[in-house]
């Protein structure tokens, strides 16, 4: 993950906090599913 904050994050994109929760395996199953779905289709979040 980039050290820089996501300064032009769109509403739909994942926040750094959500990414940290994902990495810590703290997201609920639905939230994890939404995370995976977004990440699969968003090159900007994939690059972070």
């Amino acid at each position: 993950m980039s050290d820089q904050p996501s300064l032009t994050r769109s509403e739909a994109c994942l926040s750094d906090l959500t990414m940290d929760e994902y990495l810590a395996e703290e997201l609920s199953a639905p939230a994890r599913g939404a995370f995976d779905q977004h990440l699969g289709g968003c090159t900007r979040c994939q690059a972070r």
């Binding site: 300064l7 994050r9 810590a24």
Partner: protein, 160 residues
């Protein structure tokens, strides 16, 4: 290693890197970020009841790290260092948006504490009001009100 020590070791391994990343971004100093990590986890080891389980541990640490960094940014020595770094960096070199630099260098320490925290979440992290409300344990309306107060405060500062 005892069971509680093992638990804490696991917790540290799982979360310390995220705390460090966030502190380094906010403070722009690896040394200070390491200190924040040490202080925060030592505090959590000594007083685990601080985390009441009302949110995920990651969310709690995110907020606690923000508080710790804001306190350090209010320290005169840090403000001086950040201002100096901002002056020496050309606009092209800067990786942060102007409003983020402003927040980190000069304005932030003058905002009353709850507004300073909201300013970091809203303008630096670009979190939605809903996400900020979740972190701070308050309503979305309250967050919106605080963002409006920051805007009003900024206009007043510019006018004075």
């Amino acid at each position: 290693m005892t069971a509680p020590a093992r638990d804490f070791d696991l917790l540290y391994r799982r979360h310390a890197a995220a705390v460090f990343r966030r502190a380094r971004v906010l403070l722009k100093s690896e040394a200070e970020a390491h200190e924040v990590v040490q202080d925060l986890f030592l505090s959590l080891l000594e007083r685990p009841q601080q985390f009441q389980g009302k949110s995920t541990l990651t969310t709690w640490l995110y907020s606690a790290t923000t508080h710790a960094c804001l306190n350090r940014l209010r320290n005169q020595k840090n403000r001086t260092r950040l201002l100096r770094e901002q002056e020496t960096a050309s606009e092209a070199d800067s990786k942060l948006a102007p409003e983020a630099l402003l927040l980190l260098s000069d304005t932030l320490h003058r905002l009353p504490p709850p507004l300073g925290e909201v300013a970091v979440y809203a303008f630096f992290d670009e979190l939605s009001h809903e996400e900020i409300a979740q972190i701070m344990g308050c309503s979305r309306t309250h967050v919106t009100n605080m963002v409006q107060r920051i805007a009003t405060w900024s206009r007043e500062q510019e006018a004075s």
